[in-house]
Structures are given as C-alpha cells and as structure tokens.
C-alpha cells in the first residue's frame, strides 16, 4: 500500500518540471510533501493520479499505474483542488456520482458526510458553500471509498481553526490505522504538528527524504537565548570566544556556535550577571528555508534598494 515514484520525469517543452524523482511513500505514517512554488509538487501528484503522463519514469500506486486501477476510489482518496466541483450540484449528488463509479453503497455517502460535518448541508448546492465547506466536501470525497492510500494537496486551505485541528487529528488517525497518507502544504507550523516523515523537493528534484526530527537537526542549528543587563559587554566577549551573536532586544542576545554551558562559563569568568539562559531548537520553517533557499524558483525580491 505504497506510492512509488521511480525516476519520474516531466518536461513541458523546454521546461523540466520534474527531473528523475524517486521516492516511496510508506503506510502507517503521515508523509509531508514540501517544496517551494514551482518545485513540481502538483505535477508529481498529477502524474501519480494519472492526470499527466510522465515524459520518463513511472509512478505507481500499490504497485500499479493509477490508470490501470479498476475502482480507484477504493484504493486512493485524493484531494487535489476543492474547487473542482460543479457548483450547481448538491453535496450528496456530487458524492453520489463518485460513489457510483466504485459501486459503493449509499451508506458510504452518509458516513462521509457525517465524518466531515456536512450532513446538515447535504442537499444544498455547492455554489452556496464557503471555501471551508468545499474543502470538507473534497475531504469527504477522498474518504468515500475508505481507501488505504490518501493524497491531500493543501487540505487545511480555507479551514477555520477548529477545522484545522479536525483535519490534523483525522490525518493522524488515518496513519495510525495503517494507511498511507501523503499531504502537501505550505504551512510549516501545521506540517510540523502533523507529519512524521518529509519529502522535500526543489526545482524538480528530491532535496530530502527523511524523518521530521532528522530533517530539522540536519538543516538548521538551534541557538541559545541569553538575557543580561550588560548586553553589549557580553556580546563582545562571546564574539571573541567564537560565537555568532545577534541582538534580539534591549537585554537579550541570540547566540549560535557556542554551547549553553560554554556561554554560562564565559559569562561567569567575565563577571556578567545572566538573568536567563535557554537553548532553542530550530523550527521546521527555519530548516525548510535553509534547505530550499537555493532551490526557490520564484524567490521574492529582497528590498535591496531601501536596505
């Protein structure tokens, strides 16, 4: 019950969107799929779902090409774009035609509506749905066939805080059930809470395929926060001792390159009183930005002119 990409390549004319991508998404855990805009995430997901044909290589779901699946809804639940719905159809009818393609009983439609909190609006036209409700309908259609593999593209998009907690819990429980869950998102804080494993791509290549903790430890160093009434004096001695020191506020320094114990010792030797001393681990966001800095296709212009 895995998703496998093997030397997957896609070129659009002279532009290479995805280049020899190889990875495997395993069951029993939530795998985060990260990468800057234009990195090839959507193209990869489209190829896995048979919407685009690879230029070279192949993508397999449970060992088979997606297009050869007889009733794919029972195998893979996909949320690609919550807007890909006819606005004139009711939620129940939308799920109804989808259920029919996989010979699913209508009980499944009720279950999916219940599970996503849409039961009360089942007979409303999708036109009248908010973005969050459409997102829930997209998730309902992914859950419809009770599939062992789930692929969710930006699932928290448009959800309110309660909805975000709900989808996080849902993805965790799907993985605990032993399902394969691949989820893409640009929200790093959310991803840090949800994913166990990460696949990061940039410019069409795999940059990292590793566990969450390893990823952060490898790509970003933590620092030490020091609060002292004699800020500038301490900054001077720490810099001379080899630390990279940055001023955080009127009495606070952030120090990289020196261990917490070393900083404490240096401060004591120099007779500088320390009010607070604490180690900080790097966030997923810092690790991600450090890794993808060079691979960002559409990097925002820094304000060099005014800086």
């Amino acid at each position: 019950m895995t998703i496998t990409c093997d030397q997957l390549t896609k070129r659009f004319g002279s532009v290479t969107a995805v280049s020899q991508l190889s990875f495997e998404v395993l069951p029993g855990r939530v795998t985060g799929f990260l990468g800057p805009n234009g990195a090839g995430k959507s193209t990869t997901m489209r190829m896995v779902l048979g919407l685009d044909t690879p230029t070279a290589g192949r993508a397999l779901v449970c060992g088979r090409p997606y297009r050869s699946l007889q009733r794919p809804l029972r195998m893979v639940g996909a949320l690609l774009d919550a807007g890909a719905v006819h606005p004139g159809r009711t939620a129940r009818d939308h799920l109804g035609w989808m259920a029919a393609t996989a010979d699913l009983p209508s009980r499944r439609i009720d279950e999916a509506l219940d599970r996503t909190g849409l039961a009360a609006v089942a007979t409303k036209r999708v036109r009248d749905f908010s973005l969050g409700m459409r997102q829930r309908l997209g998730i309902a259609s992914a859950l419809l066939g009770d599939p062992p593999v789930l692929m969710l593209d930006e699932p928290v998009n448009g959800l309110d805080p309660e909805g975000i907690v709900w989808i996080r819990t849902l993805m965790r429980s799907l993985a605990t059930d032993g399902r394969t869950v691949l989820v893409s998102s640009h929200l790093m804080s959310e991803m840090a809470l949800t994913a166990d494993h990460l696949i990061v791509i940039g410019r069409g290549r795999v940059l990292a395929d590793t566990g969450m903790d390893d990823f952060i430890a490898t790509n970003a160093k933590g620092d030490v926060l020091v609060r002292t009434p004699r800020r500038d004096e301490l900054a001077g001695v720490l810099t001379r001792a080899g630390g990279a020191v940055q001023v955080e506020s009127v009495d606070t320094l952030a120090v990289e390159g020196l261990a917490l114990e070393a900083i404490s010792e240096i401060a004591a030797e120099n007779g500088v009183r320390v009010l607070e001393l604490s180690g900080r681990t790097a966030s997923l966001e810092q690790a991600y930005l450090a890794l993808t800095q060079d691979a960002t296709e559409f990097q925002s212009r820094t304000l060099e002119a005014t800086a």
Partner: protein, 262 residues
C-alpha cells in the same frame, strides 16, 4: 470491462440528472417544440376556409406540427454542449478523470448516457408534437395517421435528427471545451452553414445536400421534394448518410481529443 462500464454509466446518469441545466434545456425544447407547432396548426385550422387552392395543396399535416422544432434542436444542441463543457469550465473534469481514469471508458459512458437520454426525450417530443397537432387538425379532417405513407418514418426521424444535433453539440463541447465557443460553433454548423453551400452552388450542389438542415427536410418529408432547388435536398438515403457522417466526424474528433490528454 462490463462491471466498470455499468458503474461509469450510472455515475454519468447521476451527473446528467443532478444539474438544473438539463431540466431547463429539455423544458425549453418541449415548450417551444410543442408550443409553436401547436400554434401553427391552430392557425391553419382557423384560416383554412380563407386559404386558396395552391396553399391548401401544399399543406403538410406532418411538417406543420414540427414548426417549433428548430428551437427544440437549438435547446438540445445546447444540452449536448453543456453536458461536457461545464466539466471543463468548473474543473470538475479533473475529479472525474481521477475517479474514472480510463479515458475510453469515461468517453463511452458519457456518449451512451447522453445519446440514449436525448433519443428518448426527442422521440417523446416528436410523437407528442405530431399527436397533439393531429388532434387539432382532426377538427377539419386534415389529420393523417402514423400508418399513412411515410408518416411514421418522418415523425421518428424528426426525433432522431434532434438527438443527432444533441450529439454534434456534445462533440463540439468536448473538442472546444468552452461553453460559449462550442454553442456558437454548434449554431454555425447546424443552422447557419447554408450560405457557404450556396456560395459554391455553381460548382456543385453536393455541399447543399450535406447540410444538416437540408437532411432534416428530407428525413421528415412525407412526399418527395417539389418546386425550385430540389437538387439542394438530399435523397432519404443520402440524408441518413449525412447523419452518420456528422456523428462519426464530431464524436470521432472529440474521442481523439478526449483520450489524448487530461
């Protein structure tokens, strides 16, 4: 193959009956198709005593009941376009292709569901228009029965022709993938192509005989064409061939395009 086809057919049928545009287009087709024919027949019955011999001789009790059918054809052509173009307009096509990844299976299901639905509704429309019209005409004993001459054939083909227009619309919708563009193309090809055929008439009248509207005349006539320009009207057999060619060309190109990409 048989189980997935059955499932795909059910899914496409749910899609067709769960959008409002299906009911609106069919409603308009029935209202105008039946209503205008009925008005025309009532007006004939009303004016009969004042009509001259030539007008009375050229009266066609079958054709008269189909006066509103061009509106019906327009509505059904639009139904055909909408049945596929809205999938592209709303991006639903991506969900559809993920759900039914075999393009050939999906296309087959779409064509079968729409054509069977259109055939049933169009034949219902044709026979209702005919029977209503004859009921009115019977007041002056101008009515004809289905068993008379080519009457059954004419009524049956009036419905079949409308179904073919629906499927030409569907083909154009699948080729152009844009509602307004496909409806414009459908109107041009089905209703407005005659000046092009006229323009080359001095070389050949073959293009005239290949026009859908002239084929419709031949298929729904109860007598051979008379008067000027009979060479424009195809024979019954040629008109049947026209329908087959139009279906094959538009559904064929659409199938090619549909199965080539997402």
């Amino acid at each position: 193959m048989s189980a997935p086809l059955g499932a795909a057919l059910r899914a496409e049928w749910i899609k067709l009956r769960s959008v409002r545009s299906t009911y609106i287009t069919v409603g308009i087709a029935l209202l105008l198709g039946l209503g205008i024919g009925l008005l025309d027949v009532i007006s004939t019955v009303h004016n009969w005593s004042g009509m001259n011999a030539a007008d009375r001789a050229s009266f066609d009790p079958v054709g008269n009941t189909f006066s509103g059918f061009q509106f019906g054809e327009l509505a059904f052509g639009a139904l055909g376009v909408l049945a596929i173009s809205t999938e592209y307009g709303t991006d639903l096509i991506r969900t559809t292709l993920v759900t039914v990844p075999s393009r050939r299976l999906l296309y087959t299901a779409k064509v079968l569901v729409l054509s069977v639905f259109a055939l049933i509704v169009c034949e219902t429309c044709a026979f209702s228009a005919f029977l209503l019209g004859q009921a009115v005409l019977s007041h002056r004993n101008l009515d004809v029965g289905l068993a008379h001459g080519h009457v059954l054939r004419a009524v049956g083909f009036a419905g079949l022709y409308m179904m073919v227009v629906t499927m030409v619309g569907f083909g154009l919708g699948a080729i152009i993938r844009h509602t307004a563009g496909a409806i414009a193309a459908m109107v041009a090809i089905v209703f407005l192509a005659w000046p092009a055929a006229r323009a080359v008439e001095s070389f050949s009248s073959l293009p005239d005989r290949m026009l859908l509207i002239n084929a419709a005349d031949a298929l729904t006539a109860t007598h051979p064409a008379t008067g000027l320009h009979t060479e424009r009207i195809p024979s019954f057999g040629f008109a049947c061939l026209d329908l087959i060619v139009y279906l094959a060309v538009f559904l064929g190109i659409a199938a090619w395009r549909f199965t080539r990409d997402a």
